[in-house]
């Protein structure tokens, strides 16, 4: 297996979607190619870093002016709905 093939199969390898034969070839390549080992590590680290971004959601505060704008739109829609029902 070449570096290019390792690159192509990275996601399938991490997802456990390679055949036994392909996985063995993939791992054999890794044993002989430190740059590909490092590449695999940093590829997986890239995915893990996405979680850092996702998990910062809890810190996001809704600006009060935005809260008020949403509530005002809601009141407007509500009163329009009332008019229609009448």
């Amino acid at each position: 297996m070449t570096c290019r093939e390792v690159l192509d199969f990275l996601a399938d390898y991490l997802n456990g979607e390679l055949s036994d034969e392909a996985r063995a070839a993939f791992e054999l390549h890794l044993l002989r190619c430190p740059p590909c080992v490092n590449f695999l590590n940093t590829y997986e680290q890239t995915i893990a870093l996405g979680q850092v971004l996702a998990e910062s959601d809890a810190e996001v505060q809704l600006p009060e002016e935005l809260v008020q704008a949403v509530l005002a739109s809601h009141r407007t829609l509500g009163s329009e709905g009332d008019e229609e029902r009448r």
Binding site: T2, C3, R4, E5, L7, L10, A11, Y13, L14, N15, G16, E17, L18, R23, E27, L30, C33, P34, P35, C36, V37, N38, F39, L40, N41, T42, Y43, E44, Q45, T46, I47, A48, L49, G50, Q51, V52, L53, A54, E55, S56, D57, A58, V60, Q61, L62, L66, V67, A69, V70, L71, S73, H74, R75, L77, G78
Partner: protein, 237 residues
């Protein structure tokens, strides 16, 4: 993250290193399996809130906005490039959620349902904004020789103590993600950050699951390359 391959662990960075990345997020909120958006302040009784929303209670709507709006805004901000668009999408999403609360079946958490609505609203806004042709991703992909041998850097990335502060890391991540071509950026955001699965992503974007997988892989490769200068040991953020 999927690490299903047998024997993968010996090649990957250690579980301790991975934990050190994820520990940087002291969020006590649900993860993908249970619903990723959580109430911002005091816990909200979802069943009671849904009931009150179905009764068209204005107070319940305000609770919805204040409790879940922050996390929904985080999602719309990631997908949209301007704060104004993110606010518009959030407003659309919250009003849409109120209108369609009757269709909420309760088979997922309210937070998950709201997250999906926020994503939909942001994607609709994104579609209305796309007009210029996007750049190809190829220049962001790793370089290989003609024979397919590696030409990419073998340097290791920071881990643990050497990791950037979480705020810096989030800024770097967002900046790098925003440099990806739009069709790759969107797939990466939906799959790796918003934690939708391949089928859901394909459905939302009108793609085949295979196309989602290909774009996700190429987006991750591109993002890896963009992150590398910031993540190398000893590099400046």
């Amino acid at each position: 993250m999927h690490t299903g391959a047998t024997g993968a662990a010996r090649f990957l960075y250690s579980p301790r290193q991975r934990d050190s990345i994820l520990r940087m997020n002291p969020r006590g909120h649900p993860t993908a399996a249970t619903g990723r958006i959580g109430p911002a302040s005091a816990p909200v009784d979802e069943a009671q809130l849904v009931e009150a929303l179905r009764g068209r209670s204005a107070a319940a709507f305000e609770t919805l906005v204040r409790s879940y709006g922050g996390s929904m805004l985080a999602a719309t901000r990631r997908l949209l490039r301007t704060e104004e668009d993110a606010h518009d999408a959030l407003q659309d999403a919250l009003l849409s959620a109120f209108r369609s609360i009757g269709s909420f079946q309760g088979d997922s958490r309210l937070s998950t349902w709201l997250h999906r609505i926020a994503i939909n609203a942001a994607l609709m806004k994104l579609r209305s904004r796309q007009c210029k042709p996007e750049q190809p991703i190829d220049e962001l992909l790793p370089a290989l020789t003609q024979e397919g041998a590696t030409m990419y850097s073998a340097s290791e990335w920071r881990t643990g103590e050497a990791m950037l502060q979480r705020r810096q890391l989030c800024e770097v991540m967002q900046r790098c993600i925003d440099r990806l071509p739009e069709s790759y950026r969107t797939v990466l955001l939906l799959r790796d950050i918003e934690e939708l699965d391949t089928e859901q992503t394909a459905q939302l974007l009108g793609l085949t699951p295979g196309a989602v997988k290909v774009r996700l892989h190429r987006a991750r490769l591109g993002l890896r390359g963009l992150l590398e200068p910031h993540m190398r040991e000893g590099s400046e953020p």
